[in-house]
């Protein structure tokens, strides 16, 4: 069996701040095969974005990866130096951010930025780089690409900018794309278009995709597998069907129950009481226990990740039946 496209094992990324150690990512493990889509779901502060940044080696001080391994096609990434990272990022692994202006330079024309991204990794002529840029824009559904290439980012609407950012991420035909809430700021019709394009891309080119979001219903329609994160830990993972139809962790259960369309109209929504805890004050205990309807005294001990069924993981001592 060949190595999976991406394998993350026991990843821990901590921030060492004056106020104390923030365990932003705390023992996260998952794997992703070629052409598959993995959804990472969680609320703000759950560590989902930091997991994505860790895979790309984008963690800055005071943050540091303190343990764990990240392997892409069997190659360890956590020990790479900056030169090796430069060859990898934007080439074999690329990222799409929530705000496309994190990708785009506001004072450069789109063609300048795209050609630069191609030539940084491939020894090709400017014309060839331009041809590939044009092709990438067409792939994400941008009409009249020649005209668009000569425009500046401020000429575009939000949805169009995000498409350009996606086109840049796909430019060098990466093996792995990490998308961090790329459609959260967009309207549903534009979101539908982008999901459509990403889905087709993975199916056709075998690119692996990690889709980070807080929206379970997007994951339901898009992903093959899902990791649910809470306070830096993966509390539950498995195939989308397994996790969404038979959630075992009370947090997953609570999230699903609080989705408006699953509640009777006009009736109070099922809600998770309280709010997400400060990551500074977390001990080893289950971080969800103070909001959990099923919590018992033994939840004060760290719940280990178990495998309740093939392909599933769970971090809970008292799962929902």
């Amino acid at each position: 069996m060949s190595a999976p496209l991406l394998e993350v094992e026991g990843l821990r990324m901590h921030f060492f701040t004056k106020a104390g150690v923030v365990k932003a990512v705390d023992d996260v493990s998952f794997r992703l095969e070629r052409g598959k889509i993995l959804g990472i779901v969680g609320e703000s502060g759950s560590g989902k974005s930091m997991t994505g940044y860790s895979i790309l080696g984008l963690v800055d001080a005071p943050g540091r990866i303190v343990a764990g391994r990240i392997a892409q096609n069997g190659r360890e990434l956590t020990t790479l130096d900056e030169t090796a990272w430069r060859k990898l990022r934007g080439n074999r692994i690329s990222m799409i951010f929530q705000d496309p202006m994190m990708t785009l330079n506001p004072v450069l024309r789109i063609d300048t930025q795209m050609i630069e991204a191609v030539q940084a990794h491939h020894d090709v002529s400017r014309d060839e780089a331009l041809r590939r840029s044009r092709e990438a824009l067409v792939r994400v559904g941008i009409a009249s690409p020649d005209e668009r290439l000569r425009a500046y980012p401020h000429h575009f609407s939000g949805g169009m900018r995000q498409r350009v950012a996606i086109a840049i991420a796909l430019l060098n035909k990466p093996d792995l794309v990490i998308a961090d809430e790329p459609t959260t700021a967009l309207d549903v019709t534009i979101q539908g278009q982008i999901l459509h394009e990403m889905q087709a891309l993975c199916r056709e080119s075998g690119t692996g995709l990690i889709w980070i979001t807080h929206d379970l219903s997007v994951i339901a329609g898009l992903a093959d597998d899902v990791c649910v994160m809470y306070a830096g830990r993966v509390v539950e993972s498995g195939t989308v069907d397994e996790v969404l139809d038979r959630p075992m962790h009370p947090y997953t259960r609570g999230l699903l129950d609080s989705v408006p369309s699953r509640n009777e109209r006009g009736r109070p929504l099922a809600q998770i009481p309280g709010m997400t805890p400060s990551l500074l004050k977390l001990g080893a205990a289950c971080a969800f226990r103070e909001r959990c309807p099923r919590a018992q005294p033994d939840c004060a001990e760290a719940p280990l990740a178990t495998r309740p069924a093939p392909g599933r993981t769970l971090r809970c001592l008292h799962p929902t039946p």
Binding site: D187, Q191, L195, Q271
Partner: protein
Amino acid sequence: MSTAPAPLLELRGVSKRFDKHLDFAGRIARKLGSRISDETVHAVDTVNLAVAEGEVVGLVGESGCGKSTLGRVVSRILEPTAGVRFWKGRPYAEYDKAADRAERLAVQMIFQDPYASLNPRLRIVDIVGEAPVVHGLIPRREQAEYVAHTLGRVGMDASLLRRFPHQFSGGQRSRIGIARALAVKPRFLVCDEAVAALDVSIQAQVLNLFIRLREELALTYLFISHDLGVIRHVSDRVVVMYLGRVVETASAAEIFDRPNHPYTQALVAEVPRIDVRRRHFVPIRGEIPSPLDPPRGCHFHPRCPRAFDRCRVEAPQLREVAPGHHSACHLNDRPS
């Protein structure tokens, strides 16, 4: 729902335009023969809307469709360019100054961004308590007690009175924004994307708060959101806007079960659902055109899969397609 004789609030033919006049260089250029002119955005274009007492009307549409501008016109933050707003069956112009002041308080707005809409330099007691004191609803010495009571209504502890906004989480700030609106005893709340910035678990808490307050205080809502799941849950009736115009309005059940306008149909189909797995996304094409230069005829025709010749020249009017269900689409005139 709409058995009341006169609606609590009504808009008749309300439009809001924003004009951008040419600057000095532009005027010179025009004198010299350049064909540039003033730019006008028709943010809201001849909208009729009636909201009955106790009703929750959901207003949906994509960004740039004018739904926030309409909300601001309703809450009297903006004056309409054309059309008349009625309150309790009378145009605002007929109210004398004192009555107008009092009725202004009756419509309050809750804003989208719980970070930007609270003054960071004021304590909660002043944020929530300033308006009722200024408007003479309560004497100043009772401010703290009154604010504590109002915070209790939104599920917050009175011990937080002396704190500043930065000491609260997003969900708590939302509640403070709601408390501030409630402090002047409104009858009508305009909620502009009031839960959009919140996490899923917190969003459910705030939505529940809205539902509870409606029952406790007999409030009427105009609930503006781009999230159809939220709109479906809270609304009695739904109004769909596209590029400044209302394209469809019906009861919430009707809109989601039998959408008539192709735009509404696309919106409803586009909503991601938990129970739809690995779906094949079939998007509608293109995006909302610029309101500076809207398409002729039906605004939706460039994206509409069923557009025909008439859609390109003539703007469709809202017409009743079923009892209480209005839609602005030429397809309804065609024999099917």
